[in-house]
Symmetry: C2
Subunit: 260 residues, 2 copies
Protein backbone atom coordinates (compact mmCIF):
# COMPACT_ATOMS: atom_id res chain seq x y z
CA UNK A 1 0.00 0.00 0.00
CA UNK A 2 2.94 2.35 0.78
CA UNK A 3 3.66 3.00 -2.86
CA UNK A 4 0.22 4.52 -3.37
CA UNK A 5 0.54 7.08 -0.62
CA UNK A 6 0.16 10.63 -1.87
CA UNK A 7 0.81 13.94 -0.13
CA UNK A 8 -1.79 16.71 -0.24
CA UNK A 9 -1.42 20.41 0.44
CA UNK A 10 -4.52 22.03 1.79
CA UNK A 11 -5.37 25.75 2.21
CA UNK A 12 -7.91 26.48 4.91
CA UNK A 13 -9.71 29.43 6.49
CA UNK A 14 -11.04 29.43 10.01
CA UNK A 15 -12.82 31.75 12.38
CA UNK A 16 -10.67 31.43 15.50
CA UNK A 17 -13.37 32.64 17.90
CA UNK A 18 -14.49 29.28 19.20
CA UNK A 19 -11.13 27.48 19.06
CA UNK A 20 -8.47 27.15 21.76
CA UNK A 21 -5.98 27.83 18.95
CA UNK A 22 -4.70 25.67 16.13
CA UNK A 23 -2.73 22.96 17.89
CA UNK A 24 -4.19 19.90 19.63
CA UNK A 25 -4.47 20.28 23.40
CA UNK A 26 -6.08 17.69 25.67
CA UNK A 27 -9.77 18.38 26.25
CA UNK A 28 -9.84 21.51 24.07
CA UNK A 29 -11.55 22.26 20.76
CA UNK A 30 -8.76 23.08 18.29
CA UNK A 31 -8.50 23.43 14.51
CA UNK A 32 -6.02 20.55 14.23
CA UNK A 33 -8.35 18.26 16.18
CA UNK A 34 -11.34 19.07 13.94
CA UNK A 35 -9.40 18.57 10.70
CA UNK A 36 -7.78 15.32 11.89
CA UNK A 37 -11.17 14.00 13.05
CA UNK A 38 -12.64 14.78 9.62
CA UNK A 39 -9.73 12.99 7.91
CA UNK A 40 -10.07 10.02 10.26
CA UNK A 41 -13.75 9.67 9.32
CA UNK A 42 -12.92 9.81 5.60
CA UNK A 43 -10.27 7.11 6.23
CA UNK A 44 -12.80 4.96 8.13
CA UNK A 45 -11.10 5.33 11.50
CA UNK A 46 -7.48 5.24 10.38
CA UNK A 47 -5.55 7.96 12.22
CA UNK A 48 -4.23 10.70 9.91
CA UNK A 49 -1.94 13.43 11.26
CA UNK A 50 -1.65 16.85 9.68
CA UNK A 51 1.25 19.34 9.74
CA UNK A 52 0.61 23.09 9.52
CA UNK A 53 2.72 26.07 8.42
CA UNK A 54 2.62 27.13 12.06
CA UNK A 55 0.31 27.37 15.07
CA UNK A 56 -2.17 30.13 15.69
CA UNK A 57 -3.28 31.11 19.20
CA UNK A 58 -6.74 31.12 20.71
CA UNK A 59 -9.00 33.63 18.97
CA UNK A 60 -6.59 34.16 16.05
CA UNK A 61 -8.14 33.71 12.60
CA UNK A 62 -6.83 32.31 9.32
CA UNK A 63 -7.68 33.18 5.73
CA UNK A 64 -4.90 31.06 4.24
CA UNK A 65 -3.44 28.58 6.72
CA UNK A 66 -1.64 25.70 4.96
CA UNK A 67 -1.45 22.10 6.12
CA UNK A 68 -0.33 18.86 4.51
CA UNK A 69 -1.31 15.25 5.04
CA UNK A 70 -0.65 11.87 3.48
CA UNK A 71 -3.29 9.48 2.23
CA UNK A 72 -3.55 6.25 0.27
CA UNK A 73 -7.11 7.08 -0.81
CA UNK A 74 -7.51 7.60 -4.55
CA UNK A 75 -9.40 10.90 -4.42
CA UNK A 76 -8.67 13.85 -6.75
CA UNK A 77 -7.99 17.29 -5.15
CA UNK A 78 -11.38 18.81 -5.92
CA UNK A 79 -13.19 15.80 -4.39
CA UNK A 80 -10.99 16.02 -1.25
CA UNK A 81 -12.20 19.59 -0.78
CA UNK A 82 -15.86 18.59 -0.99
CA UNK A 83 -15.38 15.55 1.27
CA UNK A 84 -13.54 17.53 3.95
CA UNK A 85 -15.95 20.49 3.88
CA UNK A 86 -18.86 18.08 4.28
CA UNK A 87 -17.25 16.70 7.47
CA UNK A 88 -15.98 19.97 8.98
CA UNK A 89 -17.90 22.40 11.19
CA UNK A 90 -18.97 25.81 9.80
CA UNK A 91 -16.07 27.73 11.33
CA UNK A 92 -13.47 25.88 9.23
CA UNK A 93 -13.52 25.90 5.44
CA UNK A 94 -11.19 24.11 3.06
CA UNK A 95 -10.40 26.48 0.18
CA UNK A 96 -8.11 24.29 -1.89
CA UNK A 97 -6.59 20.80 -1.91
CA UNK A 98 -3.83 19.84 -4.34
CA UNK A 99 -1.48 16.91 -4.67
CA UNK A 100 2.15 17.88 -3.97
CA UNK A 101 5.58 16.24 -4.09
CA UNK A 102 6.29 13.76 -1.30
CA UNK A 103 8.96 16.08 0.15
CA UNK A 104 6.62 19.07 0.48
CA UNK A 105 6.34 20.24 4.09
CA UNK A 106 3.81 22.92 5.14
CA UNK A 107 6.09 24.25 7.88
CA UNK A 108 9.68 23.72 6.75
CA UNK A 109 9.20 24.76 3.14
CA UNK A 110 7.29 27.98 3.66
CA UNK A 111 9.33 30.91 2.34
CA UNK A 112 7.02 33.81 3.16
CA UNK A 113 4.07 34.50 5.42
CA UNK A 114 1.58 37.32 5.55
CA UNK A 115 -0.36 38.26 8.67
CA UNK A 116 -2.92 41.05 8.87
CA UNK A 117 -3.94 42.86 12.02
CA UNK A 118 -7.34 44.55 11.93
CA UNK A 119 -8.09 47.53 14.18
CA UNK A 120 -11.54 49.13 14.45
CA UNK A 121 -11.30 52.87 15.08
CA UNK A 122 -15.06 53.45 15.46
CA UNK A 123 -15.99 55.54 18.48
CA UNK A 124 -18.65 53.00 19.49
CA UNK A 125 -17.95 49.29 19.61
CA UNK A 126 -19.33 47.46 16.58
CA UNK A 127 -21.12 44.24 17.65
CA UNK A 128 -20.23 42.64 14.29
CA UNK A 129 -16.50 43.18 14.85
CA UNK A 130 -16.22 42.14 18.50
CA UNK A 131 -14.44 38.89 17.58
CA UNK A 132 -12.88 40.14 14.32
CA UNK A 133 -11.03 43.41 15.02
CA UNK A 134 -9.35 45.07 18.01
CA UNK A 135 -11.47 48.04 19.06
CA UNK A 136 -9.17 51.03 19.55
CA UNK A 137 -11.33 54.19 19.62
CA UNK A 138 -8.47 56.61 20.25
CA UNK A 139 -6.62 59.09 17.99
CA UNK A 140 -3.65 57.57 16.16
CA UNK A 141 -0.73 59.31 14.49
CA UNK A 142 -0.40 57.13 11.41
CA UNK A 143 2.72 58.90 10.15
CA UNK A 144 4.53 58.13 13.42
CA UNK A 145 3.43 54.48 13.15
CA UNK A 146 4.74 54.25 9.58
CA UNK A 147 8.05 55.78 10.66
CA UNK A 148 8.33 53.28 13.53
CA UNK A 149 7.50 50.41 11.17
CA UNK A 150 10.49 51.29 8.99
CA UNK A 151 12.78 50.40 11.92
CA UNK A 152 11.15 46.97 12.17
CA UNK A 153 11.52 46.15 8.47
CA UNK A 154 14.63 44.24 7.42
CA UNK A 155 16.60 41.49 9.14
CA UNK A 156 16.84 41.82 12.92
CA UNK A 157 17.05 39.82 16.12
CA UNK A 158 13.41 40.09 17.23
CA UNK A 159 13.91 38.85 20.82
CA UNK A 160 12.25 42.03 22.13
CA UNK A 161 9.19 41.26 19.99
CA UNK A 162 8.86 37.61 20.96
CA UNK A 163 6.94 36.04 23.83
CA UNK A 164 9.35 34.94 26.59
CA UNK A 165 7.51 31.59 26.48
CA UNK A 166 9.09 30.53 23.19
CA UNK A 167 11.55 27.65 22.87
CA UNK A 168 13.02 28.92 19.58
CA UNK A 169 16.72 29.79 19.89
CA UNK A 170 17.42 31.72 16.69
CA UNK A 171 15.34 34.87 16.85
CA UNK A 172 16.63 36.51 13.70
CA UNK A 173 13.85 37.08 11.18
CA UNK A 174 13.35 39.22 8.10
CA UNK A 175 10.30 41.48 7.93
CA UNK A 176 9.97 42.34 4.26
CA UNK A 177 7.09 44.76 4.44
CA UNK A 178 4.72 46.42 6.87
CA UNK A 179 1.83 48.03 4.98
CA UNK A 180 -0.81 50.32 6.52
CA UNK A 181 -4.26 50.57 4.94
CA UNK A 182 -6.76 52.82 6.64
CA UNK A 183 -10.18 54.37 6.39
CA UNK A 184 -11.90 56.64 8.93
CA UNK A 185 -13.23 53.55 10.67
CA UNK A 186 -10.52 50.98 10.34
CA UNK A 187 -6.78 50.37 10.18
CA UNK A 188 -5.30 47.16 8.77
CA UNK A 189 -1.58 46.46 9.17
CA UNK A 190 -0.07 43.83 6.86
CA UNK A 191 3.11 42.11 8.01
CA UNK A 192 5.00 40.17 5.35
CA UNK A 193 8.17 38.26 6.22
CA UNK A 194 10.07 35.02 5.99
CA UNK A 195 8.77 33.89 9.37
CA UNK A 196 7.43 35.25 12.63
CA UNK A 197 8.24 34.36 16.24
CA UNK A 198 5.68 33.49 18.89
CA UNK A 199 3.37 36.54 19.39
CA UNK A 200 5.71 38.64 17.21
CA UNK A 201 2.97 40.24 15.05
CA UNK A 202 0.82 40.97 18.09
CA UNK A 203 3.76 42.56 19.99
CA UNK A 204 4.79 44.62 16.93
CA UNK A 205 1.16 45.79 16.61
CA UNK A 206 0.89 46.65 20.30
CA UNK A 207 4.16 48.59 20.13
CA UNK A 208 3.11 50.43 16.95
CA UNK A 209 -0.14 51.43 18.69
CA UNK A 210 1.89 52.90 21.57
CA UNK A 211 3.79 54.94 18.99
CA UNK A 212 0.54 55.98 17.30
CA UNK A 213 -0.89 57.19 20.60
CA UNK A 214 2.26 59.16 21.43
CA UNK A 215 3.48 56.98 24.33
CA UNK A 216 6.62 55.97 22.41
CA UNK A 217 8.66 57.83 19.80
CA UNK A 218 9.26 56.11 16.42
CA UNK A 219 13.04 56.19 16.91
CA UNK A 220 12.69 54.13 20.12
CA UNK A 221 12.22 51.06 17.91
CA UNK A 222 15.98 50.99 17.32
CA UNK A 223 16.73 50.86 21.05
CA UNK A 224 13.97 48.29 21.68
CA UNK A 225 15.31 45.96 18.98
CA UNK A 226 18.90 46.33 20.29
CA UNK A 227 17.85 45.59 23.88
CA UNK A 228 16.76 42.00 23.02
CA UNK A 229 14.43 42.21 25.98
CA UNK A 230 10.69 41.55 25.73
CA UNK A 231 9.79 44.07 28.44
CA UNK A 232 11.16 46.94 26.33
CA UNK A 233 8.49 46.53 23.64
CA UNK A 234 4.80 47.37 23.97
CA UNK A 235 1.84 45.21 25.03
CA UNK A 236 0.76 42.15 23.09
CA UNK A 237 -2.29 43.22 21.02
CA UNK A 238 -5.27 40.85 21.47
CA UNK A 239 -5.52 37.71 19.35
CA UNK A 240 -8.95 38.38 17.85
CA UNK A 241 -7.61 41.16 15.56
CA UNK A 242 -5.03 38.86 13.96
CA UNK A 243 -5.36 36.89 10.71
CA UNK A 244 -2.88 34.45 9.19
CA UNK A 245 -3.50 35.64 5.65
CA UNK A 246 -1.21 33.75 3.30
CA UNK A 247 1.69 31.30 3.26
CA UNK A 248 3.98 31.12 0.23
CA UNK A 249 6.15 28.21 -0.91
CA UNK A 250 8.90 28.10 -3.49
CA UNK A 251 7.26 25.16 -5.22
CA UNK A 252 3.88 24.02 -4.04
CA UNK A 253 2.69 21.55 -6.59
CA UNK A 254 4.28 19.12 -8.95
CA UNK A 255 4.40 21.33 -12.05
CA UNK A 256 4.28 18.37 -14.43
CA UNK A 257 5.05 19.25 -18.03
CA UNK A 258 5.66 22.96 -18.59
CA UNK A 259 5.88 24.82 -21.88
CA UNK A 260 8.13 27.75 -21.13
CA UNK B 1 -41.60 63.15 39.89
CA UNK B 2 -43.94 62.65 36.88
CA UNK B 3 -43.25 66.09 35.52
CA UNK B 4 -39.54 65.32 35.19
CA UNK B 5 -40.01 62.23 33.06
CA UNK B 6 -38.29 62.51 29.69
CA UNK B 7 -38.53 60.29 26.62
CA UNK B 8 -35.37 59.04 24.88
CA UNK B 9 -34.93 57.66 21.38
CA UNK B 10 -32.13 55.19 21.06
CA UNK B 11 -30.49 53.71 17.93
CA UNK B 12 -28.87 50.32 18.44
CA UNK B 13 -26.95 47.70 16.50
CA UNK B 14 -26.91 44.02 17.40
CA UNK B 15 -25.43 40.79 16.15
CA UNK B 16 -28.52 38.54 16.15
CA UNK B 17 -26.53 35.28 16.22
CA UNK B 18 -26.87 34.54 19.92
CA UNK B 19 -30.35 35.98 20.45
CA UNK B 20 -33.72 34.27 20.25
CA UNK B 21 -34.87 37.40 18.43
CA UNK B 22 -35.68 40.90 19.63
CA UNK B 23 -38.78 40.39 21.74
CA UNK B 24 -38.87 39.08 25.31
CA UNK B 25 -39.76 35.38 25.55
CA UNK B 26 -39.76 33.42 28.80
CA UNK B 27 -36.42 31.71 29.44
CA UNK B 28 -34.78 33.03 26.26
CA UNK B 29 -31.95 35.50 25.72
CA UNK B 30 -33.44 38.36 23.70
CA UNK B 31 -32.33 41.89 22.76
CA UNK B 32 -35.27 43.48 24.58
CA UNK B 33 -34.42 41.56 27.76
CA UNK B 34 -30.77 42.65 27.71
CA UNK B 35 -31.60 46.33 27.11
CA UNK B 36 -34.35 46.38 29.75
CA UNK B 37 -32.03 44.69 32.27
CA UNK B 38 -29.34 47.31 31.58
CA UNK B 39 -31.91 50.12 32.05
CA UNK B 40 -33.19 48.52 35.26
CA UNK B 41 -29.65 48.49 36.68
CA UNK B 42 -29.14 52.14 35.76
CA UNK B 43 -32.47 52.90 37.50
CA UNK B 44 -31.41 50.93 40.60
CA UNK B 45 -33.93 48.15 40.16
CA UNK B 46 -36.87 50.19 38.89
CA UNK B 47 -38.48 48.38 35.96
CA UNK B 48 -38.15 50.26 32.65
CA UNK B 49 -39.92 49.01 29.51
CA UNK B 50 -38.74 49.78 26.01
CA UNK B 51 -40.70 49.93 22.72
CA UNK B 52 -39.01 49.11 19.40
CA UNK B 53 -39.76 50.03 15.78
CA UNK B 54 -40.58 46.34 15.31
CA UNK B 55 -39.40 42.87 16.24
CA UNK B 56 -36.63 40.97 14.57
CA UNK B 57 -36.51 37.17 14.47
CA UNK B 58 -33.87 34.80 15.84
CA UNK B 59 -30.56 35.26 14.01
CA UNK B 60 -31.64 38.50 12.32
CA UNK B 61 -29.21 41.41 12.79
CA UNK B 62 -29.71 45.15 13.22
CA UNK B 63 -27.53 48.09 12.21
CA UNK B 64 -30.13 50.71 13.08
CA UNK B 65 -32.94 49.37 15.25
CA UNK B 66 -34.78 52.15 17.09
CA UNK B 67 -36.32 51.96 20.56
CA UNK B 68 -37.68 54.50 22.99
CA UNK B 69 -37.96 54.58 26.78
CA UNK B 70 -38.98 57.00 29.51
CA UNK B 71 -36.83 57.98 32.46
CA UNK B 72 -36.84 60.48 35.30
CA UNK B 73 -33.03 60.35 35.56
CA UNK B 74 -31.29 63.62 34.71
CA UNK B 75 -28.72 62.23 32.26
CA UNK B 76 -27.82 63.93 28.96
CA UNK B 77 -28.02 61.85 25.72
CA UNK B 78 -24.28 61.31 25.32
CA UNK B 79 -23.96 60.04 28.92
CA UNK B 80 -26.91 57.67 28.41
CA UNK B 81 -25.00 56.07 25.54
CA UNK B 82 -21.90 55.48 27.66
CA UNK B 83 -23.90 54.21 30.66
CA UNK B 84 -25.91 51.74 28.54
CA UNK B 85 -22.91 50.48 26.57
CA UNK B 86 -21.05 49.87 29.84
CA UNK B 87 -23.95 47.64 31.02
CA UNK B 88 -24.69 45.83 27.75
CA UNK B 89 -23.02 42.66 26.39
CA UNK B 90 -20.65 42.91 23.38
CA UNK B 91 -23.26 41.82 20.84
CA UNK B 92 -25.44 44.92 21.42
CA UNK B 93 -24.15 48.44 20.91
CA UNK B 94 -25.96 51.72 21.51
CA UNK B 95 -25.08 54.08 18.64
CA UNK B 96 -27.07 57.13 19.66
CA UNK B 97 -29.39 58.37 22.41
CA UNK B 98 -31.35 61.61 22.07
CA UNK B 99 -34.18 63.22 24.00
CA UNK B 100 -37.42 63.33 22.00
CA UNK B 101 -40.92 64.73 22.38
CA UNK B 102 -43.16 62.89 24.82
CA UNK B 103 -45.42 61.74 21.97
CA UNK B 104 -42.58 60.10 19.99
CA UNK B 105 -43.19 56.38 19.45
CA UNK B 106 -40.53 54.12 17.91
CA UNK B 107 -43.13 51.87 16.29
CA UNK B 108 -46.13 54.02 15.45
CA UNK B 109 -44.23 57.04 14.16
CA UNK B 110 -41.80 55.28 11.85
CA UNK B 111 -42.40 56.42 8.27
CA UNK B 112 -39.80 54.35 6.43
CA UNK B 113 -37.69 51.27 7.06
CA UNK B 114 -34.71 49.82 5.26
CA UNK B 115 -33.74 46.17 5.43
CA UNK B 116 -30.72 44.64 3.70
CA UNK B 117 -30.36 41.00 2.77
CA UNK B 118 -26.78 39.76 2.30
CA UNK B 119 -26.04 36.76 0.08
CA UNK B 120 -22.58 35.20 -0.24
CA UNK B 121 -21.99 33.83 -3.74
CA UNK B 122 -18.57 32.29 -2.98
CA UNK B 123 -18.17 28.74 -4.19
CA UNK B 124 -16.77 27.65 -0.81
CA UNK B 125 -18.45 28.60 2.44
CA UNK B 126 -16.69 31.47 4.20
CA UNK B 127 -16.30 30.73 7.92
CA UNK B 128 -16.43 34.47 8.68
CA UNK B 129 -19.83 34.84 7.02
CA UNK B 130 -21.57 31.76 8.40
CA UNK B 131 -23.77 33.86 10.71
CA UNK B 132 -23.77 37.03 8.59
CA UNK B 133 -24.79 36.12 5.02
CA UNK B 134 -26.85 33.42 3.30
CA UNK B 135 -24.47 31.17 1.38
CA UNK B 136 -25.90 30.66 -2.12
CA UNK B 137 -23.10 29.25 -4.34
CA UNK B 138 -25.26 28.91 -7.48
CA UNK B 139 -25.49 30.95 -10.69
CA UNK B 140 -27.98 33.82 -10.51
CA UNK B 141 -29.59 35.77 -13.31
CA UNK B 142 -29.49 39.26 -11.80
CA UNK B 143 -31.41 40.86 -14.66
CA UNK B 144 -34.30 38.49 -14.09
CA UNK B 145 -34.23 39.27 -10.36
CA UNK B 146 -34.30 43.02 -11.06
CA UNK B 147 -37.23 42.56 -13.43
CA UNK B 148 -39.11 40.53 -10.81
CA UNK B 149 -38.34 43.17 -8.16
CA UNK B 150 -40.09 45.82 -10.26
CA UNK B 151 -43.39 43.92 -9.81
CA UNK B 152 -42.92 44.03 -6.04
CA UNK B 153 -42.26 47.78 -5.89
CA UNK B 154 -45.23 50.03 -5.26
CA UNK B 155 -48.34 49.62 -3.11
CA UNK B 156 -49.72 46.08 -3.00
CA UNK B 157 -51.50 43.60 -0.76
CA UNK B 158 -48.50 41.50 0.32
CA UNK B 159 -50.48 38.57 1.81
CA UNK B 160 -48.55 36.17 -0.45
CA UNK B 161 -45.28 37.48 1.01
CA UNK B 162 -46.30 37.34 4.65
CA UNK B 163 -45.95 34.49 7.13
CA UNK B 164 -49.33 32.84 7.73
CA UNK B 165 -48.53 33.20 11.46
CA UNK B 166 -49.16 36.95 11.49
CA UNK B 167 -52.08 38.57 13.32
CA UNK B 168 -51.96 41.73 11.21
CA UNK B 169 -55.17 42.27 9.22
CA UNK B 170 -54.21 45.02 6.76
CA UNK B 171 -51.55 43.58 4.52
CA UNK B 172 -51.22 46.49 2.13
CA UNK B 173 -47.72 47.96 2.20
CA UNK B 174 -45.67 50.22 -0.06
CA UNK B 175 -42.25 49.03 -1.18
CA UNK B 176 -40.52 52.17 -2.37
CA UNK B 177 -37.31 50.65 -3.65
CA UNK B 178 -35.51 47.35 -4.10
CA UNK B 179 -31.83 47.95 -4.90
CA UNK B 180 -29.33 45.28 -5.96
CA UNK B 181 -25.62 45.74 -5.26
CA UNK B 182 -23.32 42.94 -6.32
CA UNK B 183 -19.73 41.89 -6.65
CA UNK B 184 -18.40 38.53 -7.88
CA UNK B 185 -18.62 37.25 -4.30
CA UNK B 186 -21.66 38.89 -2.87
CA UNK B 187 -25.13 40.22 -3.54
CA UNK B 188 -26.88 42.66 -1.23
CA UNK B 189 -30.55 43.47 -1.75
CA UNK B 190 -31.88 46.64 -0.10
CA UNK B 191 -35.59 46.84 0.61
CA UNK B 192 -36.97 50.28 1.45
CA UNK B 193 -40.61 50.77 2.29
CA UNK B 194 -43.16 52.25 4.66
CA UNK B 195 -43.40 49.01 6.61
CA UNK B 196 -42.91 45.28 6.21
CA UNK B 197 -45.08 42.33 7.26
CA UNK B 198 -43.85 39.34 9.26
CA UNK B 199 -41.11 37.56 7.25
CA UNK B 200 -41.93 39.75 4.22
CA UNK B 201 -38.31 40.65 3.35
CA UNK B 202 -37.17 37.05 3.78
CA UNK B 203 -40.02 35.72 1.59
CA UNK B 204 -39.39 38.37 -1.09
CA UNK B 205 -35.69 37.44 -1.03
CA UNK B 206 -36.42 33.70 -1.25
CA UNK B 207 -38.78 34.31 -4.16
CA UNK B 208 -36.29 36.57 -5.97
CA UNK B 209 -33.66 33.83 -5.58
CA UNK B 210 -36.05 31.36 -7.24
CA UNK B 211 -36.36 33.81 -10.13
CA UNK B 212 -32.58 34.27 -10.25
CA UNK B 213 -32.05 30.52 -10.45
CA UNK B 214 -34.65 30.14 -13.22
CA UNK B 215 -37.30 28.29 -11.21
CA UNK B 216 -39.78 31.16 -11.55
CA UNK B 217 -40.26 33.72 -14.32
CA UNK B 218 -40.14 37.42 -13.38
CA UNK B 219 -43.71 37.99 -14.62
CA UNK B 220 -45.00 35.38 -12.16
CA UNK B 221 -44.68 38.02 -9.44
CA UNK B 222 -47.89 39.62 -10.68
CA UNK B 223 -49.84 36.38 -10.33
CA UNK B 224 -48.26 35.62 -6.91
CA UNK B 225 -49.21 39.05 -5.54
CA UNK B 226 -52.77 38.73 -6.90
CA UNK B 227 -53.22 35.25 -5.38
CA UNK B 228 -52.92 36.58 -1.79
CA UNK B 229 -51.74 33.14 -0.81
CA UNK B 230 -48.45 32.50 1.01
CA UNK B 231 -47.86 29.13 -0.69
CA UNK B 232 -47.62 30.83 -4.12
CA UNK B 233 -44.41 32.69 -3.20
CA UNK B 234 -40.96 31.19 -2.72
CA UNK B 235 -39.24 29.88 0.41
CA UNK B 236 -38.45 32.10 3.36
CA UNK B 237 -34.72 32.96 3.10
CA UNK B 238 -32.82 32.27 6.35
CA UNK B 239 -32.74 34.90 9.10
CA UNK B 240 -28.97 35.21 9.40
CA UNK B 241 -28.66 37.07 6.05
CA UNK B 242 -31.09 39.81 7.13
CA UNK B 243 -30.25 43.21 8.65
CA UNK B 244 -32.67 45.86 9.91
CA UNK B 245 -30.61 48.74 8.53
CA UNK B 246 -32.43 52.01 9.23
CA UNK B 247 -35.70 53.38 10.54
CA UNK B 248 -36.82 56.87 9.57
CA UNK B 249 -39.19 59.20 11.42
CA UNK B 250 -40.87 62.39 10.28
CA UNK B 251 -39.68 64.24 13.38
CA UNK B 252 -37.28 62.52 15.73
CA UNK B 253 -36.09 65.16 18.14
CA UNK B 254 -37.54 68.27 19.67
CA UNK B 255 -36.26 70.86 17.20
CA UNK B 256 -36.33 73.62 19.80
CA UNK B 257 -36.06 77.12 18.37
CA UNK B 258 -35.71 77.13 14.59
CA UNK B 259 -34.70 80.04 12.40
CA UNK B 260 -36.33 79.26 9.07
Amino acid sequence: MEKNIKRFKCILAYDGTNFAGYQVQPGKRTVQLEVEQALNKIHKGESIRIAASGRTDAGVHARGQVIHFDSHLQIPGERWKKALNAMLPGDISILDVSEVDKDFHARFQSVRKEYRYRISLKSERDPFLRHYAYHYPFPLNLDAMKEAARYLMGTHDFTSFCSAKTEVVDKVRTVEEIIFTSTDDELVIQFIGNGFLYNMVRIMTGTLLEVGSGRKAPAEMERILAARDRVQAGKTAPGHGLYLWKVDYAITTNPGVTFS
